[in-house]
Amino acid sequence: MGELAAFMILSLVTLIPAVVVVTSSNIVRAALSLVPTFLGVTGLYVMLQAEFVAGIQVLIYAGAITVLILFVIMLTEGGTGVRTRQLNDQVPLGAMAAVWLAFVLIVIFTRTGWPTAAGVLPAYNVVAVGNAFLSDYVLIFEVTSVVLLVSLVGAIVIARRED
């Protein structure tokens, strides 16, 4: 019972601010609403016994990315308080697409018989993740590092002032 209640609460904490994120006409409010959504997702990770991913989620999303977005808003027109129209002219179609897709996805997920396997996660799965990264997935790890480096340099080059 307790687990279900926790799941419901975390789901709502995730989804309600997400609605604000996509609908609010105040861009700063939308950006700040990202924080509870990311934290809700973190809670779901904890429930799924992925503590390391949850920690990273907090650090990267709730910390770094949200702050980065807020910075950009401040550096562009968003921070000047200028009120402009935030939604374009395909709101009805977009809403329809989103609702129908949600409906279709829910139908698929409920009708599909998932091959759930009984098993136990490694007790301290940071070690397991670390081992996986440096053994089976070392190529992905290295490529990701390169992508990180390239995007770092690219971001600097693009955002740099021309003078």
Binding site: A18, I56, I69, V72, Q86, N88, L105, T110, S151
Partner: protein
């Protein structure tokens, strides 16, 4: 009542559709990026949930989730840099007003 795989998937689907709605309807480039972040999070929930319920012994789902988080950070950095550059040269970040390349 045990919380099953489907529950997590449904939450992820709803989050994904909210993100999609944001991406489709927002004019502000930063807001579109925020929608994309929501969609990435939904995908991550799926990966971790599958890891938990389908193959608990392996940690492949978590590994991929971590990689996606890294790439999301990259995407956010580059995307926001582009927004900055666009704002500097065009004085706007409303995507439907950025039409220099349109015929």
């Amino acid at each position: 009542m045990q919380v099953g795989l489907s529950s997590y998937l449904i939450v992820a689907a709803l989050l994904f559709c909210l993100g999609l709605y944001g991406v489709l309807t927002r004019r502000n480039a930063v807001a579109i990026l925020m929608g994309i972040e929501l969609m990435l999070n939904a995908a991550n929930i799926n990966l971790v949930a599958f890891n938990r319920f389908v193959a608990p012994a392996a940690v492949a789902g978590q590994v991929f989730a971590l990689v996606i988080i890294t790439l999301a950070a990259c995407e956010a950095a580059v995307g926001l840099a582009l927004v900055m550059a666009a704002y500097r040269s065009l004085e706007t970040i409303q995507v439907d007003e950025i039409n220099l390349m349109k015929w």
